[in-house]
Symmetry: C3
Subunit: 301 residues, 3 copies
């Protein structure tokens, strides 16, 4: 991975993934602040956020700091050179002069790929519109591997907004590399779009009723259903009700099944679920730091 | 204090205060950048500012940096996960995954206490609405102790907006632990509210005319009177005039009396006062860093 | 330079400039992250940006991090104490309590000078209205020296907005200290203002047609022409067309002539020019970090 940009999960081979997972295991005590790591001392990460994402930005910044490195940050797009008419290519070249690695978040799909074309330093895509968010996918895979022992052999249901959810699209395509059984559960208006559906393995099953498959699942991956996707509030209310996970849902699941969510969550998972052993979404979020530490150190070392 | 949250000054015992003061004395040369300290190397402070407060945020960040630690910061509440409907509990849990200690500022009273309930890491309240701002109180007490030799035995006047001033409420309750004489001086519309008045010791005196007590004071603590508190500008003008400290006021004070102010100040203290030996408000502000260094190191060590 | 503020390029003697250039040469491998430097460990730079300038702020922050130091930043002026009515003098004193050096950017000319008067710590002006931006001037001079071997003996054309361009004003006055031939090329409405013109050496030539002098130039310094300066779009279009540098312009220039621009650029230099050996504007931007490293280390050591 040395010197490479990571724009799409397709840029990361399955062998690379294995190496990232191995390194992430090693990074855990450093990510928790239990051990000190100074390998990135003197190195600078630039976080270029053309749209806000506090969670993702903080996770990357925490990773760089835990490695002993420094961070410079642009999180006010309206106030940047962009507002003076500068092209993305020029902004990236500028930031290249100030840093060793660039993390970019942009509202437009393809922006991160464009940035990586002009950048003389490695670029990590932290989400570009409806495009990719590869480090989220890597931490999702790592969570399954760590919490379930391995990725192969799991029955995974992806639930919620499969239409607009960038996270889910990447994850489905990445899971397709493994020997997993995939179930898709969503309201009809939020079904997986055709251009992704055409790339998923034949074995993927579209399921109407989540309850029917709950007892068989190893991994329940829930995503946020955004109110803005619905034309009227009543429709949203009825949908969110039937796709929401509560204690009753958990009671139907296997004891060692895990529940994941990319966060933030709103009503899709009830707070009562937080206290069950199956709830792994906060652990999943915490893996964001060691996964990004592993990635940064492989790219910059 | 190890591992403890500090939400209210009531969370800090008088013994803890003594230990904080002792440590603050030790921290002074490090706070001034004269000596280097790396005890917090590899540790991360998250500053979660749901309302802006540049002064408080910078003071905390400076403290963490002077200890060799790192900082990740959220200072754009409108752009955070909160705007996607995330609860404060979830935001705090997220930040727990990225940091070792959380500093929170919130417009709503009680928010810091709620955050500390869900947080797996220590939380420091950096001001919650009309609630508490304990580190301001600790640095106020430290300033009196350092500049006057000790806290006991002082005659302290609190002047200005005693009604809305969070800082003053905390300070009065904290001073009540010591053997001090307290005077309250404010325009009637900005008098101390009953719920605080009922908790102050019997000896506290409400004074109409500041000039009457100026010659007897050891500590003159002035607070900002906000124009917004008055229905018309003329009323504000007349009040600010009679509660404003100038050279004439200083000339009536004891030579070794000190003038404090939590800053920012507007018209309450004339610039001419800055050049008197009694003016201690900038020194007071500077103690914010070593006090917070002491607190952080006691909590995280 | 130890302990000194840098508000105007006039604060920096020609001997100081030579020392800054020498140090900048030394800083290059550290600025590139090839070598580690910890001389500023434990020191804190405060960046006070009362108007946004991502480029300048990131360049200063990168410089401080490359030296092993820390940064605290105020880049949300509307949310600062200023909005509560605090004076600039008080804001600077506050920041003095939290840092060892203050970098200030302000929309009003003279603000940095005022700040330096009240500051107990060195202040670097990072641009104040139509006033000065001395570190930009120093890096411009360094670029000429490094890319052309020396400053003396060059023929330098300054092209574009010579009226409002703060950068150009400072640079002209600084170049006047050296033995250079200066050409000024601008649309009439954007000509150099009289108060600067009266201070430039007699030999400076105002030129109507850039093409006439292109073959003679050693340094072509292009500045951004802002659309807002024109009352109608058509006038802007016609002007921008005749002052824009393309491959045809480059083909008329000497092989070893260099093209500079303070960036961001919009239409003044066509992207096709980026790939010529004469294009030095990205290199110029990259020198911002080692130049600022040299300056900070000379002031704080």
């Amino acid at each position: 991975m040395k010197g490479k940009s990571v724009v799409s999960i397709d840029d990361v081979s399955t062998e690379d993934l294995e190496e990232i997972f191995r390194r992430t295991d090693e990074m855990l005590p450093y990510a928790l602040g239990e051990k000190r790591n100074r390998t990135m001392e003197g190195k600078i990460m630039a976080t270029l956020f053309f749209e806000p994402s506090t969670r993702t930005r903080m996770s990357f910044e925490s990773a760089m700091h835990r490695l002993g490195g420094s961070v410079i940050s642009m999180a006010e797009p309206q106030s940047s050179s962009t507002s003076k008419g500068e092209t993305l290519a020029d902004t990236v070249r500028m930031v290249n002069a100030y840093s060793d690695i660039v993390v970019i978040r942009h509202p437009l799909e393809g922006a991160a790929r464009l940035a990586s074309k002009f950048s003389t330093k490695p670029v990590i895509n932290a989400g570009d519109g409806s495009g990719q968010h590869p480090t989220q996918t890597i931490l999702d895979l790592y969570t399954i591997r760590r919490e379930r022992g391995r990725i192969d052999g799991n029955r995974v249901a992806l639930v919620g907004d499969l239409r607009y959810g960038r996270t889910v699209h990447s994850l489905i395509l990445a899971l397709a590399r493994y020997d997993v059984e995939i179930f898709l559960v969503s309201p009809p208006v939020l079904a997986l779009p055709d251009h992704i559906m055409s790339r998923v393995p034949a074995g993927v099953k579209v399921v109407d009723n989540l309850d029917d498959i709950l007892p068989d699942l190893d991994v329940l991956y829930v995503t946020r259903i955004q109110k803005e996707r619905f034309s009227d509030e009543n429709e949203y209310r009825s949908v969110i009700g039937s796709y929401s996970i509560d204690e009753a849902s958990v009671s139907k699941m296997k004891k060692d099944a895990i529940i994941m969510h990319p966060l933030p969550r709103v009503d899709e998972i009830k707070p009562e679920v937080d206290y069950t052993k199956n709830a792994k979404y906060f652990v999943q979020a915490s893996y964001g730091v060691p996964v990004r530490m592993a990635l940064i150190s492989m790219i910059l070392e």
